[in-house]
């Protein structure tokens, strides 16, 4: 392909575009970038002077014939019409300030409220709109109100309809069918040229056509009244026309002639309709270009000397598409594929000068290929104009948002290519470098995009692997839990003393035993349900730790406080989750791009399911977990040094205890006993046949450290453990093996777990915790006893009777008493006594 270098001047840069349209109006350039703005750019000052902001995105726009009104078609809104300030008036204002004036166009300027309008054209006081209504393309003609009068009523004068046909698009272009729906019909208004209009010049911005071709294409009637003709290229490729100023005609036979007729079918969406009009003897064509590169040229054949009537012929030629935009200047057709701007000569330069009698040769498009102009990614072209020097100047808007002024070399320049002066060589090299730079820029941006997408996909793959692992583990859990889960979270409660203030710290350890590393983007969420939340409103606290990277086999330790306002409410339920936010899949750059494409911010797109959340483990921390083991000998282990605050607190709390539990504080520590059958414990803790002492110590270890192993790293040597619970309540745990007489056959060896404490709170908490542990043990223990142990019925009866009597007492104490405040304290103590008695049941957990 022949390549021609042309001078490209970048006038402005508007950033990436979605779609573009550009119109030149004297020194001013109107352009839209696919957003809801129309920019008015001054070519001389090289800056944007005015920004017209519309309510929705601007699909297309046009200037009225007198160039004093701007019509803009907006998405879903219809057609707006606003007056355009004349250059002179706006000049004085904006000369001083260099900030573009922003004017917002209100909805009141809507002249046609029809969201279905897809394209429009303004011709001499008439507005033609095309809209798709159900299965019809509807053409509506409106009369424009007089500019001078204030009235803005657009009266509908006429309308036609054309049935929509299903576009027959070849299979290989099926992907484009979606596009073809969104392509707006192309409209053009064509005037017949008359003797007094100079050749080659458009009439009020509309293309002209030689009378003979005009007559042949559009009929004698239209030609006689010199009516302009509206040509419409529908997205299905059909080319329709109707004369604008002709009444409904009837033939001499009384048949009505249809107003709108089909001229041709291009069988692909129509991008551009124009005419190529050159001098007196030159060719005169109607030029139509389809989106996929099909070019239609209609030309007239003069009346021949052999008596053949004048007729017109249609010539098709195909260039490589897709054609984004096009324009015609005299004999040359300029069109832009997304990759390049090309010029196609329509004049047959190679043909010998033909005598006027012979029929004109076919246009040169068959003999010559397009000339590449080396300007890439042009999205819109304005009407070409001729510079004073005589060269053609194109105004192009590239997809990267650059407003380019492309000056084509003159024909004479092309011939003297070999004899370039040094300054021109420099310019040429500059241009080439510019071209290379342009392409490099495009390539690198594409590479970057590709890289981003690959990264995203890789991340997504990792995420799915992790999901799969965890979900599989959950499934296995339900069947049989043999292996350790690949990713798990353990939790241990620790006491830490900071500034002599004790606080309970939960240390969670995330262990990754899987083959997949946890990358950035994952978050470990730990939800802490305090026991208080069961009573009051469900106030849980969630702590999230964003993971940097946890490789295979690595551990991550996080600490979090368990006490709320210095108090701990046990037991605490802890749910661990791994959360992956899909936001982190997107590169911030892409996020910005996405939010430009769709008006909805990305956060809203991903609002509902923007996260993948995987539940790991659920832990429960109870009193037993939070004990601090002390020496077994003393109860009153008062710290030697107390800070003022602590001593005050101690004092106050002891006071409180006294007021509440007056009777108890005198009577030594409270105690509760839980009896568990030794056999159950031996099997449950997998200590078959161990001695009594070892069993007792093991049971204590199991309770306090959740492990029954007989290692000596734990400070438990005796079956007695003294410990400090939360709130510095002392408590003692004892285990001993006794024989219980509840069995009918003989005595049953039973392990008594006794909890002693002065604090009711600690007592209850520990009792609850022990029971919970035993409950869990029972659940886990295999149900293989040596047959049902027969129990002594009498003992059971006694136990039941005891329980019943206690229940009665409880009922009594619940009867409303009339004694008021003092009695309340009594009642509390009474209830506590009842509780203790209830706990003292002689039942054994087998």
């Amino acid at each position: 392909m022949e390549t021609v270098r042309c001078f490209v001047d970048c006038l402005a840069d508007f950033g990436d575009l979605l779609s573009a349209k550009v119109i030149r109006n004297g020194t001013e350039v109107f352009l839209s970038t696919g957003a809801s703005d129309v920019l008015v750019f001054n070519g001389q000052e090289k800056r944007v002077k005015t920004v017209l902001h519309f309510c929705s995105s601007v699909k297309s726009f046009a200037l009225s014939n007198d160039r004093c009104r701007l019509y803009a078609l907006c998405e879903n809104d219809g057609l707006y019409c606003i007056p355009v300030a004349l250059e002179s008036s706006s000049h004085s204002l904006s000369a001083k300030c260099h900030i573009p004036a922003l004017s917002t166009v209100s909805k009141d300027s809507t002249v046609i409220k029809d969201g279905k309008v897809q394209s429009f054209i303004v011709v001499e006081g008439i507005l033609v709109t095309v809209s798709m209504q159900e299965s019809f393309w509807t053409f509506e003609l409106y009369e424009l109100p007089d500019c001078s009068e204030g009235a803005m009523v657009y009266q509908r004068r006429a309308g036609f309809q054309v049935q929509v046909v299903a576009a027959r698009i070849p299979q290989k272009h099926m992907a484009d069918t979606v596009d073809s729906k969104s392509i707006a019909p192309a409209l053009a208004c064509i005037y017949p040229s008359s003797d007094n209009t100079p050749n080659g010049q458009a009439h009020l911005g509309h293309p002209l056509l030689e009378p003979l071709l005009f007559r042949l294409l559009f009929g004698v009637d239209t030609s006689l009244v010199h009516s302009p003709v509206i040509l419409c290229g529908l997205p299905d490729g059909r080319l329709f026309f109707f004369p604008l100023l002709l009444p409904m005609l009837t033939s001499s036979r009384g048949e009505q002639k249809p107003q709108i007729k089909m001229l041709y079918s291009l069988e692909q969406p129509v991008t551009f309709i124009g005419t190529s009009v050159t001098g007196e003897k030159g060719p005169q064509y109607l030029v139509v270009i389809g989106q996929r590169g099909r070019i239609l040229i209609a030309m007239a054949n003069q009346e021949g000397s052999d008596g053949k009537a004048a007729d017109c012929s249609f010539i098709e030629h195909t260039v490589q598409g897709p054609v984004e935009c096009a324009c015609v200047d005299g004999e040359r057709l300029y069109y832009s594929t997304s990759a390049n701007l090309l010029a196609l000569s329509l004049i047959n330069t190679s043909a010998s000068p033909s005598s006027p009698l012979t029929r004109p040769k076919r246009p040169a498009v068959f003999s010559q290929s397009a000339v590449c102009l080396s300007v890439c990614r042009v999205a819109a072209l304005a009407e070409p104009c001729i510079t004073p020097a005589g060269s053609v100047e194109l105004l192009a808007l590239s997809l990267s948002g650059k407003l380019l002024q492309v000056t084509l070399p003159q024909a004479s320049d092309k011939e003297s290519l070999s004899r370039l002066v040094s300054s021109q060589v420099g310019q040429r090299v500059n241009d080439l470098m510019g071209g290379i730079g342009n392409i490099w820029e495009r390539a690198s941006s594409m590479k970057h995009q590709l890289q981003l997408k690959n990264n995203t996909l890789r991340c997504l793959n990792h995420v799915f692997n992790v999901c799969h692992l965890i979900l599989n583990c959950h499934k296995n859990d339900q069947e049989v839990c043999e292996r350790k889960p690949p990713i798990s979270c353990r939790g241990v409660a620790n006491w830490s003393t900071l500034l002599q203030k004790d606080s309970l710290i939960l240390t969670c350890i995330l262990e990754n035993l899987s083959d997949c590393a946890l990358h950035q983007g994952w978050t470990l969420c730990i939800e802490v349900y305090s026991s208080r939340s069961h009573i009051a409103d469900g106030s849980s606290t969630t702590y999230s730790f964003a993971l940097k990277k946890v490789d295979c086999g690595e551990k991550l330790e996080v600490n979090l406080p368990l006490d709320i306002d210095g108090e701990v409410f046990l037991p605490v339920k802890i749910n661990c989750y791994l959360v992956y936010s899909l936001h982190s899949l997107f590169h911030p750059e892409e996020l910005g791009h996405l939010s430009v494409v769709s008006d909805i911010p990305i956060s809203q797109l991903l609002r509902d399911n923007g996260c993948i959340s995987l539940a790991l483990n659920t832990l429960t921390l109870d009193w037993l977990d939070c004990l601090r083991i002390a020496e077994p000998n003393s109860y009153a282990d008062v710290p030697k040094q107390l800070t003022t605050w602590e001593s005050t607190h101690k004092f106050l709390s002891s006071k409180q205890t006294r007021t509440q539990l007056q009777s108890m504080s005198k009577a030594g520590p409270h105690a509760v006993v839980v009896r568990i059958s030794s056999e159950l414990l031996r099997t449950g803790l997998s200590l078959p046949g161990c001695s009594t002492a070892v069993l007792c110590i093991s049971v204590l270890k199991w309770l306090v450290f959740r492990t029954s192993e007989t290692g000596d790293y734990k400070p438990i040597q005796n079956p007695v453990v003294c410990a400090l619970g939360p709130g510095r309540h002392e408590a003692r745990l004892l285990t001993k093996e006794v024989l219980s007489g509840i069995n009918s056959k003989g005595d049953l060896s039973v392990v008594e777990v006794q909890v002693e404490s002065f604090s009711v709170e600690a007592l209850c908490g520990l009792h609850h915790a022990v029971l919970r542990r035993v409950q869990a043990l029972l659940k886990e223990a295999p149900v293989t006893h040596g047959g049902p142990v027969s129990l002594r019925g009498q003992h059971l009866t006694e136990a039941v009777q005891h329980a019943e009597s206690l229940y009665k007492d409880l009922q009594d104490s619940r009867t409303p008493d009339t004694f008021g405040g003092v009695m309340k304290i009594r009642k509390t103590s009474e209830l506590f006594q009842l509780y203790l008695q209830l706990r003292e049941n002689p039942l054994v957990i087998i």
Binding site: E124, G125, I126, L141, E143, A151, V153, Q155, R157, A158, V165, L212, R215, L216, L217, G219, V220, D221, T222, S223, L224, V225, H226, S227, P228, L244, L245, L246, P247, M248, L249, T250, S251, S252, R253, G254, Q256, Q259, K261, M262, L263, Y264, S265, Q302, E303, D306, G307, K308, A309, A310, D311, F314
Partner: protein
């Protein structure tokens, strides 16, 4: 005082303010913008009221506001939207009194509503909404629905099944509450609906051809009080019925009445022109058309500016389709064409020429968009040829020549050397999908080419005639020859001629006539130039192609006489005397119709005397 009643008072006040403002505006100017503005306000208030749950105490207020809002919305929204809104109001009213219903059928809903509110204090308000329903259905021509609706509130009489009878017997009260203002008194609306229903029903009958009954309906509608424009329409429609029933004088009377009531009733003017034409009163017809033309030119401006728009216009109630039928008149170019045509036909030549010149100017002007409604307009070349003919008749020969030149320039080069007419296979293709004929611009290219031949032939023929009148016989001869040359390009096998006639009947008749006329014209040129043999040949050929043209026959006799072929002349004369005038039934274009009298043989009485004497002498000698 409860919150709702407090709110109710405020709402009543707000509603009354809106309506008061509307009434003021209506008196002052009454423009569409005002209606829109009031509508927006009413809608807002209506939404506010609907924001609280419906309660029995508020029903009256709600009905009044609904009535106002719906009245405004009738002009501003589509009938279906208004209908939906009305349904919502009714359902809400039923909810207020504890009758929640969920039926979509409008008639059933109304039945429930009327039953629920029967005899209660809200009945009058319900009737107001019923009027709105009536208006919606009327604009959609749903007479069945209206009939059912009216039967529901006219329970006393046994249902007659006739909508108009029901309307006549309508007795329900629609008194207005003074505390709650309404935008349009219900009584007025009822009256308007009454008339419009009669008109609409009459139009339906007219469309089915039942003119006597339609006439009755219109006559009854005419007795009711109504706006001027509407009354004028009623009179016009009555006139239309009379005209159809063959009573042109009564029809004219009606049209006159219509114009007396409302001078802007253009349909009446147009229709009276048609009646005058039918009666053969060309003078009156031309006057009527002239008035109509000036009225159409004035009308658009008057319509768009400062014309007060009534809240409920009859146009809206009758629906756009019915209204289009009532006020259908041709566009100004049509009227101008009819006017010019009539003038030329009635020998008012200078007037006709002026009309045609105006017509050409308005066709070429780029500022007027011709309203493209159903009335047909001849092809533009025909208009040009008629205009040229009008020029010639008005002795403006050079103008006529120029116009013909224009037609020739546009058509002559599109005609092939030979046009072979074939019995068209294309008739089958015409019904085929449009894609098949995609590449040919005309659905039937042969007919179009034949038309072009006729146009260019006619143009040459008229030019020849112009030169003949100008006494430039040489140029006339050239042009007549050119006309003949164009016309003989059309070839067909003699065998298939009758067959072709069945397909291209009008065009074939015109072709033959035109050929005959052109030959006669050329013959006359020869006569002028003294080339009698040439004249004889042409006259004979002319009679061969289109027999029965008395003028040509006369000329032939004359030429034979002059050539001293007296026997033949006498034979010809006898033959002419024998056969009576047989005129062709096909309506020829203006310029061919009127040609007869232009090329009239003037020495008729002289020839008559000569021939009688000769025959007599022959008889005596024999």
């Amino acid at each position: 005082m409860s919150v709702t009643s407090c709110l109710a008072e405020r709402w009543i006040e707000e509603s009354n303010t809106i309506i008061k403002k509307w009434k003021e505006n209506e008196k002052l100017r009454g423009q569409l913008q005002d209606i829109k503005h009031c509508y927006a306000q009413c809608l807002k208030l209506h939404q506010k009221i609907q924001g609280v749950p419906a309660v029995r105490q508020q029903v009256e207020l709600e009905f009044a506001v609904s009535y106002n809002t719906l009245l405004f919305s009738l002009t501003n929204s589509k009938p279906n939207e208004v209908n939906d809104r009305l349904t919502c109001c009714l359902i809400r009213a039923l909810e207020a009194v504890g009758f929640p219903v969920h039926c979509s059928d409008q008639v059933t809903l109304w039945q429930t509503v009327l039953k629920t509110f029967n005899g209660k204090e809200h009945q009058t308000c319900i009737h107001k909404l019923l009027l709105i329903q009536w208006a919606i259905w009327l604009s959609q021509c749903q007479f069945e629905g209206i009939l059912q609706l009216l039967q529901m509130i006219n329970p006393k009489i046994t249902p007659s099944g006739d909508l108009l009878a029901e309307i006549r017997n309508l007795t329900f009260s629609v008194k207005d509450d003074t505390s709650l203002l309404v935008a349009m008194a219900a009584e007025d609306l009822k009256g308007l609906l009454h008339i419009c229903t009669f008109i609409s029903k009459g139009l339906e009958k007219m469309k089915t051809g039942n003119y006597p009954e339609a006439l009755q309906d219109f006559q009854e509608a005419g007795t009711l009080s109504s706006p001027r424009a509407l009354l004028a329409h009623v009179h016009t429609l009555m006139g239309l019925c009379y005209a159809k029933l063959g009573r042109p004088q009564s029809a004219l009377q009606c049209y006159r009445l219509a114009l007396e009531v409302d001078f802007s009733c253009q349909r009446a003017l147009y229709q009276s022109a048609l009646v005058y034409k039918q009666l053969g009163n060309s003078h009156a017809e031309i006057e009527a058309l002239r008035l109509l033309h000036s009225a159409t030119l004035l009308h658009p401006e008057r319509n768009s500016l400062s014309e007060p728009v009534p809240l409920i216009s009859p146009d809206m109630l009758l629906g756009s389709e019915q209204m289009a039928f009532i006020s259908q008149i041709p566009s100004p170019v049509h009227i101008l064409h009819i006017l010019g045509h009539t003038c030329v036909l009635n020998d008012r030549n200078s007037e006709g020429a002026e009309c045609y010149l105006d017509l050409l100017a308005s066709l070429q002007s780029h500022s007027t968009l011709h309203v493209k409604h159903g009335l047909p307009f001849p092809r533009i070349p025909m208009i040009y040829l008629e205009a040229a003919f009008a020029m010639l008749k008005a002795k403006r020969f050079w103008d006529g020549l120029a116009i013909c030149e224009e037609v020739i320039a546009k058509t002559a080069d599109l005609i092939p050397e030979r046009l072979f007419l074939e019995p068209p296979m294309v008739t089958h293709q015409l019904t085929a999908p449009i894609e098949l004929s995609a590449r040919s611009l005309e659905p039937d290219p042969t007919k179009e080419t034949l038309d072009r031949v006729l146009w260019s032939g006619s143009a040459y023929f008229l030019q020849g005639w112009a030169y003949l009148q100008l006494k430039d016989t040489k140029a006339a001869l050239t042009n007549f020859t050119r006309a003949i040359n164009q016309l003989v390009k059309v070839c067909f096998k003699q065998k298939s001629k009758p067959f072709l006639f069945s397909f291209f009947s009008d065009q074939m008749v015109m072709l033959e006539t035109l050929k005959g006329q052109a030959l006669t014209g050329r013959g006359l040129c020869f006569v002028e130039r003294g080339q009698l043999m040439g004249a004889l040949r042409d006259f004979q050929l002319s009679l061969q192609t289109s027999p029965g043209c008395s003028n040509t026959e006369m000329w032939l006799v004359e030429i034979l006489w002059r050539l001293d072929r007296k026997e033949e002349a006498a034979a010809m004369w006898r033959q002419i005397k024998k056969c009576t005038d047989s005129s062709t039934s096909v309506d020829l274009p203006l310029y061919l119709q009127a040609w007869q009298e232009v090329a009239k043989y003037h020495g008729h009485s002289n020839l008559h005397k000569k021939m009688e004497a000769f025959i007599h002498s022959c008889g005596t000698t024999a």
